[in-house]
């Protein structure tokens, strides 16, 4: 053992049913590090940290902290020895204020409320660490960035000297990320050691002083600061897979020249949707999509991009205008009727809008195709054998990591859920795929996989409408990019005209 080892997880293994989430892990954190825990989705990062935090119990292995063997059985134990964790999904009570949330579980002196002493202490800590937030506003009224500050302060208030941040950047915008970086430095100055979980190489490069790379439940390497480099990390994360990356650590794809279809697959003609407080609606938008192209829609979130994606499969949303698929008007058609014309959709929020949480993979893959003749016996009974075989095809074609098609879909990781719902689109012959933010929160290898599936469809003469928040990604895979701002179409650019600065400016209304 090296003398300044602070946390030492030794030979940790953990299985969930048949899934081996962690396999003989050795993980060391030194005092004063900002230690990156890097790995693709499903690598086991959260599981490892949940074990350290006492939420999960390991099947094997031991945890040594400050040279002493510990027996952490619950979060109560880990909090006592100075571990604090900000979880991947918010663990605040939405109906309580920040102060109420932070005092939960803490060992206050007083039994009764109000807790003005505690409140002062909390505010003092938040100022000391530069993490100010409104103390008496209900959590549900706050943004993701503020909530995260509150969770960090909660951990610090509990006396954390080791702070685990599980994918803290998922819902942050760039400026909030920069702010978080600054806070990390403050933590270290004040003697707090940090474990920073992420699947983004760019982030560990910017934030971390040492990195442990996890892959498929195994530790690949512990990389000291001097050896941190994009290529090195990509290799460690993905080993046998050969991924070419661009400078921004995004996968490269190959877009061969192909002929466009003679007639457009879809024509969008003068469509409008009246706006409300949640969306600007759409203002008289027209464009065509041809077979053999990927048309990107670039927009800052909340500028009508969701309406564009949705109205194609749900034309009755339109207040005026018309959409044609293969020159056939879709007016008054329901989504299932639109689907029957060779269109399919993967929604923005894969969990909330994309799947039925309680359903199996098979049932979820059938969804949307359930009225097709292929899946019906005697026109009314579902043919489950056929559904199972379609689901197995999707699992195979789209590399969905699952033991079988009957597993509850919510058991899958985000990347695998996305692959499953993308695969669902391909169950029946597909002419137009509308896909909204399919890669958000996914690691590069999955992003690359999804890009290649879109390009494959394009190369076969299919059309893709790719609505995406990340302009870098759009510039990699699109043949054309349409820019949307405040519900208006600001222009459509061909690949040869792609200019990040120009498009970026139009996206913010410049």
């Amino acid at each position: 053992m090296v003398e300044n080892d602070y946390i030492n997880c030794k030979n940790i293994s953990k299985k969930f049913g048949e899934v081996k989430a962690l396999d003989d892990i050795n993980f060391v954190v030194r005092k004063g590090e900002i230690h990156g825990l890097l790995g693709e989705n499903g690598a086991g990062k959260s599981t490892l940290m949940n074990i350290l935090y006492g939420l999960y119990s390991p099947d094997e292995g031991e945890i040594i902290i400050g040279g002493e063997k510990t027996n952490i059985k619950s979060p109560l134990d880990s909090i006592k020895i100075g571990i604090g964790m900000v979880h991947q999904v918010s663990t605040l009570v939405p109906d309580f204020t920040a102060v109420e949330n932070i005092i939960l579980g803490s060992e206050g002196e007083k039994f009764t409320l109000p807790i003005s002493r505690e409140r002062e202490d909390i505010i003092k800590i938040s100022e000391e660490f530069g993490l100010q937030f409104p103390a008496d506003v209900k959590i549900k009224e706050l943004s993701a960035g503020v909530k995260q500050k509150i969770e960090i302060v909660r951990a610090l208030y509990g006396g954390a000297t080791l702070l685990i941040l599980d994918e803290p950047t998922t819902s942050l915008v760039e400026s909030e990320f920069q702010q978080l970086l600054k806070s990390l430095k403050v933590f270290v100055d004040k003697g707090v050691t940090v474990v920073f979980i992420t699947h983004k190489i760019k982030e560990v490069m910017e934030a971390c002083t040492a990195v442990t790379v996890l892959r498929k439940g195994k530790v690949q390497a512990r990389v000291p600061k001097e050896e941190l480099g994009v290529e090195n990390l990509v290799k460690l994360m993905f080993m046998e897979q050969d991924i070419e990356v661009t400078e921004s650590a995004l996968p490269k794809v190959n877009l061969p020249e192909i002929e466009l279809s003679e007639k457009p697959v879809a024509q969008v003609k003068n469509i409008s949707i009246i706006g409300d407080d949640t969306s600007p609606g759409l203002k008289n938008i027209s464009f065509d999509i041809f077979g053999g192209e990927i048309l990107g829609v670039a927009a800052v979130s909340g500028n009508g991009e969701k309406s564009i994606a949705e109205c194609i499969i749900h034309p009755t949303m339109l207040d005026s205008g018309e959409i044609f698929i293969d020159e056939k008007s879709m007016k008054n058609n329901s989504p299932v009727e639109v689907f029957a014309n060779g269109v399919f959709y993967t929604p923005e929020d894969r969990i909330k809008e994309g799947i039925l949480n309680e359903g199996s993979i098979k049932e979820n893959i059938l969804l949307g195709h359930h009225q097709e003749d292929r899946f019906l016996k005697k026109k009314i009974f579902i043919d489950w054998k056929e559904a199972a075989s379609a689901a197995r095809d999707v699992i195979k074609e789209f590399n969905v990591a699952t033991p079988d098609e009957d597993l509850s879909i919510r058991r899958l990781s985000g990347g695998n859920i996305q692959k499953a719902i993308l695969g669902r689109a391909f169950v029946s012959p597909l002419k137009l795929l509308v896909t909204h933010n399919p890669t958000s929160g996914l690691d590069i290898s999955t992003v690359e996989f999804i890009f290649n599936k879109l390009v494959e469809l394009r190369n076969k003469g299919g059309a893709v409408l790719f609505v995406n928040e990340d302009l870098d990604e759009l510039m990699i895979v699109c043949d054309r990019i349409a820019v949307l701002h405040d519900g208006e179409l600001k222009g459509i650019f061909k690949r040869s005209e792609f200019d990040k600065f120009k498009i970026g400016l139009l996206m913010i209304g410049g």
Binding site: F16, Y53, L55, Y56, S74, P75, L76, I79, M85, H87, T91, L92, V93, P94, D95, F96, E100, N101, I103, L104, G105, S106, G108, K110, F111, T112, L113, I115, R154, G158
Partner: protein, 304 residues
């Protein structure tokens, strides 16, 4: 005046039944355990409480037995739910059937068939000097000790949930058990405590029916009030201070319907028996927008 005072007095008696039962339901609901077994608990406790009071000659032992019977049901509910993650509603309905069978069974085993029904000992009344002479107000306070117990239970549980830190933590479990778990609160232990305490309070409500109101046991004595109490807990948005208001409204309707039944001979009496249930529906429809639920109520929680 005298009529109003005595009317309120009867209303308060039933308010006590409804409020205690819904208080018991909302206490465990605040930790996420939706106890729909109230009807069964009330029936079993009505029987057990009555028998204990009758045999011992002590009202207190009667209520103690009722509370213990309730605690026993609560223990079954929470144990089976926490251990096997069985659906709370199915479990609750099973316990209703169990309680309803058990109540008659133990009564028949202990008392058998008699010509004159056994009568429970009196429950002591608390008469506050002077105040008890004031009309209308007297209806609220000239009451037996269990009515005061109900007042106390409402105040204490309101204070507990909104003025103490463990009350705040208890509410946190009902909103988001994971949030409570990650800060070191033992979710399962709190669920056990809340369900057992809540169920014993429902047990007191059941025992009150036989020991104090009718003073004798008859089958199906709670007559659906355990189910109505669920409606009241929901109507009250799981808040003790509103449960007593809800309890009062339903007790008022029940007593009012009973009076009408005596006064009117044209309308079939079944109509009046139906009134409280119809009112629940109507009130729920009117209030539906104002009803809040603890977000995790009815859902099992496990870490992995």
């Amino acid at each position: 005046m005298a009529f109003i005072t005595s009317f309120i007095s009867s209303v308060m008696v039933y308010t006590t039944v409804y409020t205690l039962a819904s208080l018991g339901i909302l206490i465990s609901g605040r930790t996420g355990v939706f106890n729909v077994a109230g009807e069964g608990i009330m029936l079993a406790s009505a029987s057990a409480g009555f028998l204990a009071a009758f045999l011992s000659g002590s009202w207190f032992i009667g209520f103690l037995a009722g509370a213990l019977m309730g605690a026993f049901f609560g223990l079954i509910l929470v144990f089976v739910h926490e251990t096997f993650k069985v659906n709370q509603f199915i479990l609750g309905i099973c316990l209703v059937i169990f309680g309803s069978g058990l109540s008659d069974l133990i009564y028949k085993l202990v008392v058998g068939v008699r010509l004159s029904a056994p009568i429970a000992p009196d429950t002591p009344e608390i008469i506050i000097p002077l105040l008890s002479k004031i009309p209308v107000l007297a209806g609220f306070i000239n009451q037996d000790i269990i009515v005061y117990f109900m007042y106390g239970a409402v105040i204490i549980s309101w204070w507990f949930f909104y003025k103490t830190k463990i009350g705040l933590e208890t509410r946190a479990i009902g909103e988001n058990p994971k949030a409570a778990d990650v800060v070191g609160i033992n979710v399962s232990r709190r669920r056990y405590l809340a369900t057992i305490i809540g169920s014993s309070i429902i047990g007191v409500a059941g025992a009150y029916l036989t020991i104090s109101i009718t003073k004798t046991y008859s089958p199906d004595i709670s007559a659906g009030r355990g189910f109505m109490a669920i409606g009241i807990a929901i109507f009250a948005s799981w808040k003790p201070q509103r449960a007593i208001i809800g309890g009062f409204i339903f007790a008022f309707i029940e007593v009012f319907a009973f009076q009408l039944q005596i006064l009117s001979d044209k309308i079939p009496y079944q109509f009046f028996l139906m009134l409280p249930f119809i009112s629940v529906l109507v009130i729920m429809v009117i209030y539906r927008k104002h009803i809040e639920f603890p977000a995790s109520v009815g859902k099992p929680y496990s870490r992995e």
